[in-house]
């Protein structure tokens, strides 16, 4: 009853995403698929779920070859997938999301709501996945949303379940609960593939670990054979420094003061509910917390992108609560946005144009209406070299660059000036390990040069590695402060809202 991929190859223009990959999962087995961003894991799983067709290779279940041309085929074959970004319709209820695509219907296609609800309740009780069947997805927490995704998969009688980065959005406690769910599925005879880039989790929960790099499988091991360092080296292909070299902080004067800040989200709900903290020059303050607890709105409130409802923001004692992004820019604030493609870059613009995206209006790049393209291009060339941005040239659209290099363009743009305050939101989301190392080094260097740094990240490891002080954000409030060497469990509890 095993699921086998043999010799799977998938090419995209300019890159071989999967190169002769073979993988198998037996029922009741948990296989962790490990690799850094861009290693080809997601492509492989998309093939398994029918979203891509392999150029070469076969997929077999129980020794029989199957053709997966669509998700429907995969579902029919007993393969279920819980995606990294949930595939849930926010304005539908839990029940509607679970039955979508195979709704129980009566005459004329009318949906039998009672039967649908029954199904959800039954599965949720059998596998201990408590959910409120009538809740709207947009009103429930991320952890509960994940349970809905699992119920979806189980409702389709999946024999094999693929999890794509399932713990990225969970608190440490929720991660434990999740592992419990995985145990339950395993004991029920399901075969599980678990994509992750988190070494510790792979070691904890998997029966076998498959490491991918550059589109190939480079190792297949069991947890008792390897250490975290071994895995990291295998993932990257060289010795990786798992820690950030960081001297002690020498904080000086206070730069940023946030006092009793209240910010509403798009639905007019309080996303930030009375937040107070300070950041001093020469220190890195990290805000930890699961995505969706107000981080986005907090950053937007501080950086002038969303008017706060009440409270105040001061930069070097100047009240900037209602300042515009441009005024903040002039005051020496730099902002690395959490979504580089949506906010940080104009993808149609060239690398050079993106390099001056928030400075174009001022000398030396322009005087009044007239822009000086010569100076702009010179500056861009210099920055590309200085920050090691891999690009064919400065006149190519920035959309051609990889995620890591796009982020480097933003970092170059933000760090190349004299800044008093750095605000970095999810600075290394979705980029390769090499770029991550580079950006972390740059952030620490800015701190040492005297800037005040605020890092907001849902990756607890990143916050612990970078921050000199850790604040935990939960439901829009700062609930705790920790030193960077504090116990992970304690921080995790705070992230969940349980604290003393």
């Amino acid at each position: 009853m095993a699921l086998e991929l043999s010799g799977v190859t998938k090419r995209f223009p300019g890159v071989i995403a999967n190169n002769d990959v073979s993988l198998s999962v037996a029922p009741g087995e948990v296989v962790a698929l490990l690799g850094e961003n861009g290693a080809g894991k997601t492509t492989l799983m998309n093939i398994l779920y029918g979203l891509y067709t392999p150029d070469e290779g076969t997929i077999k279940i129980d020794g029989e070859e199957i053709d997966l041309d669509s998700s429907a085929d995969a579902i029919a074959a007993g393969i279920g997938m819980v995606h990294q970004h949930f595939m849930l319709v926010p304005v539908f209820t839990v029940t509607e999301n679970v039955v979508l695509g195979q709704e129980p219907t009566g005459f004329g296609g009318v949906i039998d709501r009672d039967e649908a609800r029954e199904t959800v309740v039954e599965i949720s009780e059998r596998y201990n996945l408590q959910v409120d069947p009538d809740a709207l997805i947009e009103n429930i927490s991320v952890g509960v949303q994940q349970r809905v995704e699992i119920i979806k998969v189980l409702d389709r009688e999946a024999r094999f379940v693929i999890f794509d980065e399932p713990t990225a959005v969970l608190t440490p406690q929720e991660v434990e609960e999740f592992f419990g769910i995985v145990e339950g599925l395993k004991n029920d005879g399901k075969g599980i593939i678990f994509i992750t880039h988190k070494l510790g989790e792979a070691l904890e929960v998997a029966n076998r670990i498959v490491v991918m790099r550059g589109g190939k499988v480079v190792a297949e091991v069991t947890p008792d054979e390897v250490t975290r360092q071994d895995l990291a080296d295998l993932m990257v292909g060289r010795s990786v420094d798992l820690t950030v070299a960081k001297g002690d902080a020498e904080p000086k004067s206070t730069v940023l003061v946030v006092r009793d800040l209240v910010v509403l989200d798009d639905r007019k709900v309080k996303a930030v509910d009375g937040v107070t903290f300070e950041v001093r020059a020469g220190e890195i303050v990290g805000i930890a917390g699961v995505q969706g607890n107000g981080q986005t709105e907090l950053i937007e409130g501080i950086t002038g992108l969303r008017p706060p409802l009440s409270g105040s923001v001061l930069i070097r004692e100047e009240d900037v609560t209602d300042a515009t992004p441009r005024e903040l820019h002039r005051l020496g604030v730099s902002h690395i946005p959490e979504d580089r493609q949506e906010s940080g870059l104009v993808l149609d613009f060239t690398v050079a144009e993106n390099m001056i995206l928030d400075s174009y209006y001022d000398r030396p790049y322009s005087r009044g209406l007239v822009m000086d393209w010569g100076v702009i291009h010179d500056t861009a060339r210099g920055l590309v070299e200085q920050y090691d941005v891999r690009t064919p040239g400065i006149q190519v659209p920035v959309s051609n660059l990889s995620g890591g290099n796009q982020q480097k363009v933003i970092v170059a743009r933000e760090f190349a000036r004299d800044v008093a305050l750095v605000i970095a939101a999810q600075p290394t989301r979705g980029i390769d390990v090499g770029s991550i190392e580079y950006i972390h080094t740059q952030i620490v260097a800015k701190r040492d040069a005297g800037a005040a740094v605020l890092v907001v990240s849902s990756e607890l490891d990143e916050v612990r590695a970078l921050a000199d002080r850790i604040l935990v954000l939960h439901h829009g409030k700062i609930v705790a402060e920790f030193a960077p060497d504090a116990d992970v469990t304690d921080i995790g509890l705070a992230m969940l809202g349980s604290h003393e």
């Binding site: 998309n46 779920y49 979203l51 891509y52 669509s70 998700s71 429907a72 579902i75 997938m81 995606h83 595939m87 849930l88 319709v89 926010p90 304005v91 539908f92 509607e96 999301n97 979508l100 695509g101 195979q102 709704e103 219907t105 004329g108 296609g109 009318v110 949906i111 201990n128 996945l129 408590q130 959910v131 409120d132 809740a135 709207l136 009103n139 429930i140 927490s141 509960v144 349970r147 979806k152 434990e176 609960e177 419990g180 769910i181 145990e183 339950g184 509403l264 639905r267 007019k268 709900v269 309080k270 409802l309």
Partner: protein, 427 residues
């Protein structure tokens, strides 16, 4: 293995009143007070103190005759002014968002009634006649809105409704003149569907921007129908003489005063439209078809991963929308105007889009919005007849100004389907 915690029953999060809401309430409050002043100054004191207005509430053809309301114009307007003013004051003090919309609706209704009382001072006018033509004027708008929301619920913006209405009107007229009403209607439905298919094809297969595709279809439709009208209809006049569509009184219901002639004495087009509103609502929110269509409009990727054919659903919805628009064109040409004239739609397709937005992309909302816009059109016609000294051009502007006010004032609260307008790129 740790048991997962049982979450409490999920509550809707508390919505906070913002500064923007308060400002809006204040602005509306001031507007209401100004309206009250106009009602008092112009409508109340602009008529002689003894003048009385009569609103006729029955038609000569009604079962129950001679129902009318006569009242002192000045008194009526005076009372209306007081109420409107009170509403305005309350808005300035209370500032509750929900009530603001209601207050505005009530205030405007009273304003219109006072206006009519003023216009009909010392004479009478057929209120029921105006209400009846409201319904008739609203049909094309409602159908346009229904077409629009059928497409947009699946994530496709249809700006080409105007062109669909115009082209199907042309086809309906020609076929009806040659072969009778049913041929005309049938042809209109087919043409509407074909233009919908063209829009869908351009937008889905070739990923042309949906708004551009719609605009170009409108231009094409205008050029083609004008060309054919000049070339063919002016020569063959007999092709511009569609068969008469008989009206049908629904027994008993049509005898109810006011409501009867308003809703239950029309051509079959009107009844089908009402049924369509119910049917579409039911289909969208209670059937499998509707759930899948809406999922495609909200989160096509999610639908795709569950085995739903996103592109096919979009084609299907846009074509169904086209059929609805075709029906609207047939009504316009065969029952409402009864001939084809160049550019006879005159922007009504766009008013339909505004009605769709006003109606929050819901079928019943489309009906209500259609009636509101239809009323503004009927009001314009009626006032021109009543001869109030207001230049007719300003009354003709009314539906279009109303549209602008609607999209400017009320869009903020509504949320269109999340994936509206975005082409779905299948990997």
């Amino acid at each position: 293995m740790t048991a997962t915690k049982v979450p409490e029953k999920v509550q809707e999060p508390a919505v906070v009143r913002t500064g923007a809401d308060e400002r809006r309430a204040r602005i509306i409050g001031v507007i209401l007070m100004v309206l009250a002043a106009v009602v008092l100054g112009v409508f109340a004191f602009g008529v002689p103190s003894g003048a009385s207005s009569t609103f006729n509430l029955s038609l000569p053809t009604d079962a129950i005759q001679d129902i009318s309301v006569t009242f002192n114009s000045r008194l009526f307007s005076g009372v209306a002014a007081v109420i409107i003013f009170a509403l305005g004051v309350e808005r300035l003090r209370r500032r509750n968002l929900q009530r603001t919309n209601t207050a505005l609706a009530v205030g405007l209704s009273l304003f219109v009634l006072a206006f009519l009382a003023w216009a009909a001072a010392d004479s009478s006018f057929s209120m029921v006649g105006m209400l009846r033509s409201t319904v008739i004027s609203s049909i094309v708008i409602t159908l346009g809105a229904l077409c629009g929301l059928t497409c947009e619920r699946a994530g496709v913006i249809n700006i080409g409704i105007e062109g669909q209405l115009l082209t199907s009107a042309f086809v309906a007229v020609v076929l009806s003149s040659a072969f009778g009403t049913w041929a005309g209607v049938g042809g209109a439905l087919v043409v509407g569907a074909l233009l919908g298919a063209l829009l869908a094809w351009l937008a889905i297969r070739f990923r042309v921007d949906q708004i551009i595709a719609g605009v170009v279809i409108n231009i094409l439709a205008l050029g083609l129908t004008s060309f054919l009208a000049s070339r063919v209809l002016s020569e063959a006049q007999d092709l511009n003489a569609p068969a008469r569509v008989p009206g049908f009184r629904i027994p008993i219901l049509a005898d109810i005063p006011v409501i009867g002639p308003m809703f239950f004495d029309h051509t079959f087009f009107v009844y089908v439209t009402f049924l369509l509103v119910f049917g579409l609502h039911f289909a969208l929110f209670r059937t499998r078809w509707g759930l899948r269509a809406r999922s495609v409009g909200e989160h096509p990727k999610a639908a795709d991963t569950l085995g739903i054919d996103v592109l096919r659903v979009r084609y299907r919805n846009v074509i169904i929308g086209g059929v609805i628009a075709g029906f609207g064109g047939a009504f316009l040409a065969l029952a409402q105007i009864s001939r084809f004239e160049e550019n006879m739609t005159g922007g009504i397709g766009f008013i339909g889009l505004a009605a769709m937005i006003f109606g929050r992309w819901m079928p019943f909302g489309a009906l209500a919005a259609g009636l509101v816009f239809g009323f503004s059109g009927a009001l314009a016609q009626k006032v021109a007849i009543l001869g109030t000294g207001i230049p007719s051009e300003f009354m003709l502007m009314l539906p279009y100004v109303a549209t602008v006010i609607v999209v400017a004032g009320l869009v903020g609260g509504a949320r269109p389907p999340a994936a509206d307008g975005q082409p779905y790129i299948k990997q």
